[in-house]
């Protein structure tokens, strides 16, 4: 396996790893797996479509599996279909994510379809970071789709982060929550320049006592534009909440569309949506503590997206 400095930087940015960790890992570079290791409890194999099948044994506790994707070749359109099965009563973290380095003028694109099944009583934290870099004008495009089923009494948290460098992204998340299961979807997004980002989340709360929550924080700078759609469908006695909060700057545009659909009279669904610029009082406060205006803006944005 060959990983150069650039690969390592990308990996570090998207998965916080600066060396190959012990435990289960699969690194995909430019459309091909370059490193794969399973652990006694987490088995990584290749599925029929060429993507990954990650099987986490029931009862596995406190393990992390890393499945980062890096793209350094221009003109590549990498499509991958991965499956994750988190066994009954396991408690694990999956760190996915995609980093693109593109120095040229051609487009680099990654389309990842992830299907996750969180079995009864299991606990999953799924983290996906997206990042793009490179000096050329070549577009860095990411189209991730995540489909997740959270079975009875299970808990899942999906955290997706896109802070820098991705020119065009459409993120689709579809979730099904069973009886007394909980799903929390957390999104943090920053767009700048002429970037476009769209997120489309739909959560079906099917089981009695199920709970779904969507929390989105985003910042749009420059001429960038964002569309955020979040739909909660309550099909039983359940709780659901959508919260989208955005800071808008410069000439950016943001469209936020929270949608609540109740198909049962016992469903309790709520939403809050707010878009606004940085409050002048916040800037003044931080400047009165000695920060310059630019430092104050950076502090407010960084903490907002933390």
């Amino acid at each position: 396996m060959k990983l150069n400095k650039l690969d390592k930087n990308l990996l570090n940015t998207i998965s916080d790893i600066d060396h190959i960790p012990a435990g289960a890992i699969n690194i995909r570079k430019d459309g091909k797996p370059v490193l794969r290791q399973s652990s006694p409890n987490i088995l990584i194999t290749t599925g029929e479509t060429g993507g990954l099948i990650v099987e986490i044994k029931p009862g596995t506790k406190n393990e992390t599996v890393h499945v980062p994707v890096i793209i350094t070749k221009t003109g590549l359109n990498d499509v991958v279909y991965n499956q994750f099965i988190v066994g009954e009563n396991a408690d694990v973290t999956i760190v996915a994510g995609c980093g693109i380095h593109n120095d040229s003028h051609g487009k680099s694109r990654h389309e990842g379809l992830h299907e996750i099944i969180v079995k009864e009583g299991a606990h999953l934290r799924y983290v996906e970071k997206h990042y793009g870099e490179g000096s050329g004008t070549g577009q860095k495009v990411l189209y991730p789709t995540t489909k997740i089923i959270v079975e009875k009494n299970a808990y899942a948290e999906i955290e997706s982060v896109q802070i820098k460098g991705v020119d065009d992204t459409v993120r689709i998340t579809e979730a099904y929550i069973h009886e007394k299961a909980i799903l929390k979807v957390i999104e943090r997004l920053l767009t700048h320049g002429n970037q476009y980002a769209e997120s489309d989340i739909k959560i079906f709360i099917e089981g009695k006592g199920g709970s779904g929550q969507i929390l989105s924080r985003s910042v749009a700078k420059g001429n960038s534009s964002q569309i955020f759609r979040a739909a909660l469908v309550g099909q039983n006695e359940c709780l659901g909440h959508v919260e989208c909060d955005s800071i808008i700057m410069d000439k950016a545009t943001i469209k936020a569309v929270p949608e609540l659909i109740a198909e049962d009279s016992e469903a309790v669904l709520t939403h809050e949506a707010a878009i606004g610029k940085i409050a002048g009082e916040q800037l003044i406060k931080l400047m009165s503590l000695g920060l310059t205006e630019d430092e104050a803006v950076d502090t407010i944005l960084e903490s907002f997206l933390k």
Binding site: I284, K285, M287, S288, L289, T299, F304
Partner: protein, 245 residues
């Protein structure tokens, strides 16, 4: 230390100019605690904001240690040693109490932050990592605000109604801390904007505002007897005659 000379501040409203501060002359000396009082809308907070550089004065001069600072912005004035505790501090999503205190005073170590929190009546275990967003009450926000200004070790600290929203026990303790730091301090001075009849008598100097002007100014011994009845009356009006501090 701070010298305000013929200072005025006006705003334009429908083409009409309205003076909010009128020809203010004031000399603030180190080692003294100044109480600023007067009716609502008399210009007290505007004065604080003009000193901090938040509002630009329209006439006159501001000198800090002999240097004209009229052209300096908020950040520059903060770095020259002026600090201002807001009457209504803003909230910050994602910033913790600890983060904000570290911005106020980057040199502070965790142990000192914890001590400063206890000083203003906040238990460090409960508050260090609390988000400065919507979860804190007005009184908690106010105490955190005062703590930041105390942490800055400013040359001139301005407290804008520090008692508002803070419980009796804590306000007494806050007053003790402010007095402890600023009274007879050869390096610093504090200006407290307040209506509180327990705070005003412990100040060294009192300044009474009315309609944008300084109506009375002098030592506590001279001024307090003249305004005591007004202050008590005003407080009793707002609390329907019940005894509060």
């Amino acid at each position: 230390m701070l010298h305000l000379e013929n200072l005025s501040f006006s705003v334009q409203n429908n083409g009409q100019s309205k003076q909010i501060l009128k020809n203010i002359n004031l000399q603030i000396e180190r080692g003294k605690l100044y109480g600023v009082t007067g009716p609502n809308g008399s210009g007290k907070t505007t004065l604080a904001k003009v000193i901090m550089g938040i509002l630009p004065h329209t006439e006159g001069h501001i000198y800090l240690d002999g240097e004209e600072i009229s052209g300096k912005n908020i950040t520059q004035r903060a770095n020259l040693g002026i600090a201002y505790a807001f009457q209504q501090p803003p909230r910050f999503k994602g910033l913790t109490v600890q983060d904000l205190v570290k911005i106020a005073q980057p040199k502070l170590k965790n142990l000192s932050i914890r001590k400063k929190m206890r000083d203003v009546g906040l238990c460090p275990e409960d508050y260090m990592d609390r988000d400065m967003g919507s979860g804190l009450s007005g009184g908690e926000m106010k105490r955190i605000e005062i703590m930041q200004v105390l942490a800055r070790s400013a040359k001139l600290a301005i407290f804008d109604e520090p008692e508002a929203g803070v419980d009796l026990w804590t306000i007494q303790r806050l007053v003790d801390i402010i007095v402890g730091i600023y009274k007879n301090n050869p390096e610093a001075a504090a200006l407290i904007i307040t209506h509180n009849r327990n705070i005003l008598p412990i100040c060294d100097e009192l300044i009474v505002f009315e309609e944008g002007k300084i109506r009375l100014q002098g030592s506590q011994a001279e001024i307090w007897p003249l305004i005591r009845d007004d202050i008590v009356c005003q407080v009793q009006d707002t609390c329907r005659g019940e005894e509060i501090i």
